[in-house]
Symmetry: D2
Subunit: 346 residues, 4 copies
């Protein structure tokens, strides 16, 4: 897709016919300041964009995912697997193009990446990329050559967890993650077959899910010291939506009011975080298709524990929406540009 | 909700906390030319808008659904039951306010309405309202005092059926309608309980569904003579999405090329109708949350019958999206204003 | 799986780890007269049965799908693709083993099969197999060497249609078929990915779906003369359940009472067909996991048409349940043996 | 429903048209030793059983839920709200009829019940009833006048938790509960409307869900001392199925092998518990409609924590299936009578 740029920043979207790429194109289609100039992919190269993405009424053809194809782009979204991002990002950065990478390739220090993936990181100088969770780490994003867009689970987990720094024992954090199937991508797998997944809830990936070190790295940044986090992901029978529920031990003397005050202070003025009133818990139905995160909380005087939960749309705030938010920061645009649409309910 | 109007037409949305009202507010939130000045409802009056509609991040309070509350509005959307529309619309029209009515109150001649509802129509002079299906009957909408927004099934059925006028025997039309549960509204019913509806497909309402005369009235307008239509609605286990499949007897000599040519001619230049290529059938997943209608077709030389199917989002093109499309025509705005967002997939 | 036979007929189930094979094993696990001696498959050969079928708590190992592996079986269920059935059935029949074939390989005359599949039938002498829809064609099943178990759509369509023979114009029949995704089998496909299929309703396969000639062949047998039938299948967002809705032109003078009387007479005493009262339509939720077919009907004096709908569980009455019913007839067991369990609701 | 008893224990089912009552009738319909003599309800009294429960093909009429109506029953299942159980059970017990109560009325000591419900328990002598979780507390069930059938969440949570007694710090237990909507009963509520619940995951009820003290009471019995438990329930978009995931701190020196050995020892010979191999986690799809509990586990050397998860069908092992299991014990029947059917997959 080569669009004659009007005004606006020329961007490229690399990601075949994947869900995150499709979501990026959906959001960018209504963006006032970012103009899609190239859509690139591997398996889908050569297909019409409107055929690769049945929900888009777009012109143009998907081009091969190679750096030269992205020449005219000031900013490139990589909605690609780790390997593709590892291969493309260094070239793009070297050429001075801004990169928002949605993969896990640049979120962690090179050594941690190597531990997880079992191989040395090919571009350690670019690690860790600037972690693009604006509500927690806004400083530094605007000037970053490469923004590592957070994982879907870490986004929700950290938005729930961050205000608890200082209020809970750092090593006492348990995270239950619940995700719709689109979080697992578009690849065909037996457990993602519609007949199996319909009406099925399942644990998976515990205890070594790759999002655990990502959560821990940010949690350490927030508290000032490393502490391990227990994270158990679950797959739910729905296409979109993600919920993380945190339970943790309150420090002595910390009560319900302290928690609420901490959460409200943390997100005062944040356009994408809604803090729910007492007695109201987040529901993914209210954030479907939008960039909002809903956060609810309660403390339990009996157990001296706190429960904080956060619901997001895994493809939007948990992927493409947050990527656009980061791009807005990179380009000096209003942070909400192209992201103010309400959720689709029901 | 009383918003200090900037530039733009001041509109009111009446519809409590219903799905169509919520969808109108979602769409209008991103509309460049229509400004919501009042949100009114019956049961939800006095609630904050953001509480009545959990997916909206809106200010303001729902006011009672009375004409005086709508004083400052140039145009009013009535996303209300028949009775409320019958009560409100005449006053609004008399005051010179434009009305887009999403109920069934003004879609048919007063006598037909009386036959269906079992009571005389209280405002026969306003019947039939201008039928707001722009792709078929665009003329006259711009100047109408009251636009009767079509039903969800009739929208999809007629978009599939209209190009067949002249090609099929008018009385040979069978329509299978398939709808998600949101088409039945927000009221609580045993058959709409989540535990029952999950994984359930059911016939209902045949053969006397109230959308049948609405389809027949428009079909008569398209063919020039009345012919009865057979319509069987089905309830599906999904929140949104509607599909109508037409089968009908081809006139002698009419072949596949004629049908395709007819459909493509009918919708050439229409921004909201996508005509699918041979071998591709509509899927509701590709129109979720968007205002598009996807139309696919095939003929069967063996049976001398044609199959044409149309998928829409019942709350968008089948209700609120089409209402905004009509409002755009009424206000002299570009017809696609506020409606160009892509569908949400998956 | 080689089970030391107690009393009972030794049966084999061929079908890898497919849904129909899994459903057969579920039903046979509670059958008082049929004992599973062999479970055979192609891709799953060598796996433990309990691994190939996670819902079964079964001993034994899947053996290769070859005739010799089935030696000790008096009766063999082939829950296999056409090609496998074409390859296995002739040998089994020649050896005197009874066969219930769930594929489409033997349902039609060899010439019709050749038309559909584009190649000559390799075992024309066995075609058409005895069509195993007991409620309509019970005679002859008990003595058949090979029973061709009907397709899922034809089962529901014909149970709705059969009582209309003599009451409607044979060539005026329109069938809307709605099926859950398990009807498409366990193979991985983009349109069966959970993220795509969730909340999606789609037309597919019209007008040349292979179940059309199967419906027509039985309809011709019921009416005495061939007449084409229009059949449009739809894929629904649910794992199990199938609904067929028939609309057709009533003969002059035929009224609602005649239709009801015809349906009730047709199914009087049938243990698996429930005729619903006026105003009640079938819902797949009430037949999930059971062998029942629910039939509802209405006539429309205005259009002179009738609507009859039938809901079944596509894997049970539409496949494995009906296969067991046929096996019961073949073995001289009570027709309801192993099939009396109620549906699983909700 | 008054059935002429053949051989077998005469039982009554009280529960209107509720889901648990419907599931009891489904299971009892295939039970070789328990014969349903009375079906009683409040709102559904006077309706035909087959109308109140559309999935059952049953004769008879629902009678009023009064003790005299249950005269001929040796055993009565109360699938009723607390108040109805509190009203009926004392009379039935006094008459010498055995009672399996599915409500929460008799699961806890009277004082704990009073704390939760805000009012004195009217029949403290019957509290706590014999807690009917046979795999953990089989002794004493056979001779009990009243068995308190466990809640759905406690069943899954305790089956996962029990083998950890002695292996983990008792006060370190976090339970994430995930349930399908049928766990919330058949009552109509906004958040159980199909259009809302489809595709929605939500936290609810934390931190004071009434199942928490029930889990704690049994956990205290297993460990020998009270320790509080953190429990967060979640509502999922599916009708049936329940998953509880436990995370807890391992005692020093306890490793993966100890946990696996503990779980396998705990459930050796248990017909309804399947211990999954390493790397396999429970999925509700494999227990739908069956009485099985699937348990999977892993330890994390890094965090020194263990994860154990258990999946059940909330209406079967989590309610009616377990009630039948308890009734089998009460009546001296094989514990698996009427409960050996495989799960319905997919």
């Amino acid at each position: 897709m080569r669009i004659v740029a009007g005004m606006g920043v020329a961007v490229g979207v690399v990601g075949g016919s994947g869900y995150a790429a499709g979501e990026l194109l959906r959001l960018l289609g209504g963006h006032p300041g970012l103009v899609v100039r190239v859509v690139a992919g591997r398996g889908s190269a050569g297909r019409r964009v409107a055929d690769a993405f049945g929900h888009l009424d777009a012109d143009g053809v998907v081009v091969p995912a190679e750096p030269d194809a992205l020449d005219g782009c000031d900013l490139v979204f990589l909605a690609t697997p780790d390997e593709a991002s590892l291969s493309l990002a260094p070239t793009l950065v070297a050429r001075g193009q801004r990169v928002v990478d949605l993969s896990g390739a640049f979120r962690l220090p090179a050594e941690t990446f190597a531990d997880i993936s079992g191989g040395a990181h090919p571009a350690p100088d670019l690690t860790p990329g600037t972690y693009g969770l604006p509500e927690l780490f806004r400083d530094g994003i605007a000037g970053a050559p490469l923004v590592a867009n957070p994982g879907c689970y870490p986004t929700a987990a950290l938005l729930a967890l961050a205000p608890l720094a200082g209020l809970v024992a750092p090593g006492s954090v348990h995270v239950a993650g619940l995700s719709g199937t689109s979080g697992a991508g578009k690849g065909l797998r037996d457990d993602l077959h519609a007949s199996h997944a319909a009406g099925n809830a399942a644990v998976y990936g515990a205890p070594g899910h790759r999002h655990t070190p990502e959560i821990e790295a940010a949690w350490a940044r927030l508290t000032g010291a490393f502490a391990p986090v227990t994270f158990v992901p679950h797959l739910l029978p729905m296409a979109r939506g993600l919920l993380c529920t945190i339970t943790a031990d309150l420090h002595d003397g910390v009560g319900n009011g302290d928690v609420r005050e901490g959460v409200e202070r943390a997100y005062a003025g944040e356009p994408f975080v809604r803090v729910l009133p007492d007695g109201v818990w987040p529901q993914t139905a209210y954030v479907r298709g939008g960039n909002a995160a809903h956060v609810g909380m309660a403390t339990d005087a009996r157990t001296r524990r706190v429960t904080v939960a956060c619901a997001i749309d895994n493809l939007c705030k948990g992927a493409a929406g947050q990527a656009v938010q980061n791009a807005n920061l990179l380009c000096g645009l209003p942070e909400t540009s192209g992201l103010s649409a309400a959720a689709v309910y029901p």
